[in-house]
Structure formats: structure tokens, C-alpha cells
């Protein structure tokens, strides 16, 4: 699939992002089974030849759309995470960046139907496995960062659980953005969660 996938590392123009979002709307209104590649071409404002040139099947298109969403976030968040060697500033920076990226999408009205796309993927065994791998990739990278910094923790054995706690917060924030939570309140949520991390850092750390 990846060899045919035209969406590399989340590099998409805003026009293509909007086009992808329109295609997901087609899936929602007409159904994954009923929607044709031609429907996707119309929705995205391209031609059937263009769509068929890039995607052999609807499943392939669906996987590419999922990959786009995850890659866009992962690439950005990974680079922010890598900028900080200590766990507290790293997690704080990633949370803030996540809020900004999520708010950006909310304000632009793109990726509003992303959860429907994930639910569609959940009904197809191959897409479901693809989705699981994508989510796992993000979580594992986060766990790796916590493991790298485990010496900063009172109990290094808690590294994975803390990473999973922050994964929960990311998921929660993502939904609260869609529910229209204010920018200030989103930052308060992030700061609350940072208190949890501070509780688990060795005494003498500056946080």
C-alpha cells in the first residue's frame, strides 16, 4: 500500500486536506460500500483518472487518509519531543503543540469527520489492523521518550503508565477541541496533567 500511497509524511497542501475531508464526508453520507472512486473524484474536485492513478481501491484511499492524519500529527509532535532532553519540558511542549494543531484543524473545519473514518476502518479487518498499527506507533514513540527519561522519575517502572496517561489526555483534549472547549481551558487541562508528571518526578527537579 505504501508504495502507491501519494501521501508521504503528512505532506499535503491545504487544498488536498480539504479534498480528503470532502471524501470522508462522502463515505459518511453514502456509505463506505456505496461510495465509488468516481464519487470521491467529484467530492475532491479532481478527476476519476487522478483518483484511480493514486488509489487502486477505496480501502487504499481510506488507509492513506488515516495515514495522512496520523503522520501530520506524529511528524510535528515527534520533532517537538526531540527538542527537549528532559521529560517535563518535552511533554509540556508536545501537549501545547497538540492543542495548537488540533485547534488549527477545528478552526479550519478540516478532519471534522476523522472519527467516522476510524469507525469505518474498524469495520474492515485490514483497515482495522492498519489503524491499530498507526495508533500503536504514536504511543510507542511516546513510551520510548518516557523510558529514555525514566531516571528522572521517582519510580522508573512508572514510565509506561505515565506515557499511557498522557496518551489518554491527548485523546481527551482532541475530543474537547471538537466540543469547542476554549483555548484557555485546553491549556488548563494540559497544565493539570503536567501536575501529575511533576508528582512523579524525583525531588530536586525544577518542575
Amino acid at each position: 500500500m505504501s508504495s502507491l500511497d501519494p501521501i508521504h509524511d503528512g505532506e499535503l497542501s491545504p487544498e488536498l486536506e480539504t479534498a480528503l475531508d470532502s471524501c470522508v464526508k462522502v463515505f459518511m453520507l453514502q456509505g463506505f460500500q456505496h461510495a465509488t472512486l468516481e464519487d470521491l473524484a467529484i467530492a475532491s474536485g479532481t478527476s476519476r483518472d487522478f483518483i484511480e492513478g493514486h488509489f487502486a481501491t477505496k480501502e487504499q484511499f481510506c488507509a492513506a487518509a488515516l495515514r495522512w492524519y496520523f503522520a501530520k500529527f506524529y511528524r510535528q509532535l515527534r520533532s517537538v519531543l526531540a527538542l527537549h532532553s528532559e521529560i517535563y519540558p518535552a511533554v509540556e511542549a508536545v501537549l501545547y503543540e497538540f492543542i495548537e494543531l488540533s485547534r488549527e484543524q477545528y478552526v479550519a473545519g478540516t478532519a471534522m469527520r476523522f472519527h467516522t473514518l476510524m469507525d469505518i476502518a474498524g469495520l474492515d479487518p485490514d483497515l482495522s489492523e492498519e489503524l491499530r498499527k498507526m495508533k500503536l506507533e504514536g504511543l510507542e514513540h511516546f513510551i520510548y521518550k518516557f523510558s529514555e527519561c525514566e531516571k528522572e522519575l521517582i519510580n522508573p517502572g512508572e514510565a509506561k503508565a505515565l506515557a499511557q496517561y498522557f496518551a489518554t489526555i491527548f485523546e481527551g483534549i482532541s475530543i474537547m477541541v471538537q466540543h469547542g472547549m476554549s483555548h484557555d481551558d485546553l491549556y488548563k487541562m494540559a497544565n493539570f496533567s503536567m501536575e501529575v508528571l511533576a508528582n512523579h518526578l524525583k525531588k530536586g527537579s525544577n518542575y
Partner: protein
Amino acid sequence: MDAEKLSPEVENIFDTCVRVFLLKGYETSTMEDIAEACSISPEALKGYYATKHDLTFAALRWYYLKFSRHVRDEMAMHSDLYAAMEAVLFAFIEICSDQIHANKGLFLRTFVDISYVDDEVKKEFEALEADWQGQMLNKFRQCQSELKNPEDVEILAYYVRTVIEGFYEMVKFNTPDEVMYKLARVSLEVLESRMKTAPPPEQKRFFDRP
């Protein structure tokens, strides 16, 4: 609608209709498609809900009430805030987990997405959302004297809500139950640090219970 008193057949209809919407489309699917997927006759389905729109409303309300009723019951059973929120998080994990184990989908987000293209569903969704958040906020207000700073009630209610939304996705991602209970324990540290009196150690040990 009383979410507790629904027959398994109706619950199955609600779960199945979302799958049909996803595969055949919210606009293009018919009551006949849904009936066929539920293995019942179209007449039997229409005996429950006259139109697809009625069914969508009922299914959306069922999803909300299924969770909010349990959450409300748990909050009512505990007079102190910490124990109430602990019970809420545990109950939420249990309900989500039961859904997964029963091979039912956690499709609430799809309903939310449908609300973007259906104004009436959107209004209903917003009303249910406000009710859900209001219940949580009321409990915090009732117990605000337990907090070091009673002005924190609103933002703490939002925090618990954020955690709950995160839990929904983590269970959906097949996070094991024992990990979820640990996450509940960690999440509540935010509340614990804001309580005038720390929860008793035996209450905190409750977290380790699967």
C-alpha cells in the same frame, strides 16, 4: 427513554444501525437495510421507530443515557467528591469495556460526526452534551466545600470530562482493563491535590482493584 429497560433486541438495533450508516451511508441507507442487518422484518423495525431519523435520535440518546445514567447513579451513591469521581471513572471504564467484550461498537463519535450534517441531530447532541457536563458540574458544586479552592469546580469538572473522553478512546484502542484502572488512579491525582483532606489510604488502595 429509559436506557436501563431496553431489550437486548433494541440495543442490537442501535448498534447495528451505526454499522449500516457507516457501510451504506447515513443518507442513502434505508430502514430496510437496517432491518436486514438486524435480522428482523422492516415491519418489526418500524414498529419500534417509524423513520430512520427517529431511530438515529433514539440511538444517539441511548448512547448518551447508557453512560450518563450510570455516571449519575455512581455520583449519587457517594457523598464525598473524591469517592464519587473515582466511582465515575471506574464505572465508565466498566461500561466501555463491557461494550467491547460484547462485540458492540463504541460509535458515539460517528453520531457526533453525523450531527455536523444533520441540524436536528446536532441540536439533540448539544442538549445531551450539556446535560452530561451539567451532571458532572452539579456534583462538583455540591461538594465544593471539600476543595481547597471552591472556584476550581468548573475547571475540575472539565478535567474529569477530558479524562473520560480520553478513556473512551483508550478502551476502544483495546487498552487492557487493568491498565485503564491504573490510569484512573493516576488521573485522580489532580483532584487529590486540590482536596482539603487527602482521601484515606484504604480508599486509594481501591484503585488497585481490577
